[in-house]
């Protein structure tokens, strides 16, 4: 109990990070509509990139709780089709833009790093995502826009770089107050379908996600 109170009384650490996810909006997952996304943009994935700001707070048991606010951006574009029933491409470029904003609560297991010196920190996180989106036609004007809310769940591993390069870590801590620099790799599942609403554009996906986070 005393340990818990001491832990909660400790100052939270500020974190800043960059995030990179290989994303593909799950528009075609909506039943009965065919594959409009694949038809237009292909089947490949594109970068969903952005950053986050957050705070971490140690809790007993070698864990750390995290709360992060993230903003990311995704854009895909392709030549539109000539409107003659064929799949011949025209000169205009149609595009979709998705800007997911997330509020995530997470838990990080730091015992491997802090007790055993192994610079690996497994994590899980989950939270709310709100994804404004827009679609534009060939001349760049928006033809549709909306926002799809949903949930996200993810997990993976942080690699504490300060554990790999200790001399640089000391310099970063002494000169800039940086306590932690970590690379992140994991899997993220986003249920972006407005909780099942039929009037929402489905943007769900399961994707590999990577990032770099600095803790102060």
């Amino acid at each position: 109990m005393i340990a818990l109170l001491l832990a909660l009384a400790a100052q939270p650490s500020l974190t800043l990070g960059m995030d990179f996810t290989l994303y593909r909006p799950g528009v075609d997952g909506e039943s009965g509509i065919g594959t409009p996304y694949a038809d237009m943009f292909g089947t490949g994935r594109g970068p969903l990139m952005g950053g986050h700001i957050g705070a971490t707070h140690p809790v007993p048991g070698g864990f750390e709780l995290s709360l992060t606010l993230g903003l990311t951006h995704f854009e895909d574009s392709a030549k539109a089709f000539v409107d003659d029933g064929t799949l011949k491409r025209s000169g205009g470029e149609t595009s979709i833009v998705v800007n997911p904003v997330s509020l995530m609560l997470g838990a990080r297991f730091r015992l491997l790093w802090e007790a055993l010196g192994l610079p690996l920190v497994p994590y899980v996180e989950g939270g709310l995502v709100y994804a404004p989106w827009s679609v534009s036609k060939g001349d760049g004007t928006s033809v549709a826009s909306g926002a799809t809310p949903g949930l996200a769940l993810g997990g993976g591993l942080y690699v504490e770089l300060v554990g790999v390069e200790k001399r640089s870590a000391k310099t970063l801590r002494d000169e800039f107050g940086v306590e932690s620099v970590a690379l992140r790799g994991g899997v993220s599942r986003m249920w972006l379908d407005a909780f099942g609403s039929s009037s929402a554009l489905v943007l769900s996906d399961t994707a590999w996600t990577f990032g770099l986070e600095v803790g102060f």
Partner: protein, 331 residues
Amino acid sequence: MARFASLAGHRSLLRGPTDGTAVAFASIVLRAHLILFFAGLAALPASAAPIVLREGDRLLTDAERLEWINVARCSCDSELTIALDLSSLAQTGNAALVAGKSCLTTENRISSSCRIVWDGTIDTETHTLKVTASELAGSCAATETKIDLTLFVDAEDEDVWTSATTMSIGVDTKPPSAPEKGDVVAGEGLAEVSFETDEKKAVQHQVLCTTLAGGAVLDDPPEAVFDSELERCGQGDGLLAARFVCAEASDGTASVTVLGLTDHVAYRFAMVSVDDAGNPSSVTTIGEATPSPEQDFWERYQQGGGDADGTGCQTASPGILWGLLFFVRRK
């Protein structure tokens, strides 16, 4: 008379001073100075700049001066107005305004390879001169260089000259190479023009478009970055007019989207490269295209039966409510 002995072989560009404006000009300058003084906005300058360049009524900026002589101005004999204020020299003797490169010989004489724009006795008047681009450059042959416009002084009337002040004027009479080839694909109310170029120097690319009848297409075309002989003196390629500009490529891109076209109307497209001095290349014909309706992603989605609300953020509101309820119920 000795002072003009060495000038006899030079090509004089003097075409009559318009000194009648000097008194009025001095009066305006004096009033302006008094206003500034009493307003406390600025101290009176010690002297005005001895050489002021204007194109028409507009003062030439330093950047404009360094790109001023181009193909169109040279071929069309565009005039530069030079206001020469000798009072700032604060000395007596003779003065000569000379255009060229390395205009002083080792004996401090004015080189015969340079052009005398004006010469005379140093006085307190402002001399207004007009000189054409080709006279300043000496030739309109293709070149990229700078010439100096130098005010020389011969204080002792001994034909021994020293430079009082000088300013450079850019000469670029070498047009860039034209876009090599291109293609045009129509869209809905637009056309995408792509092209290739091997021009190494910094150039911009503009699309020129016309109706099949040769008329202009856009009511409010983008500003032409080229300075054409057609616009200045009615010579040269008939397409190189500002009214035919339809779009311009962003720096480094090799395709341009021309917007504002009408579906089911045929257009002709051409491209031109333009260098920093405004010199256009020869015009490269790209082809013809007729815009027609296209199917964008949203139309494709709706055609398949997708019924998401795309009219704004309306879908978000109930979604958020449901999401919050979901969390509250879990707690």
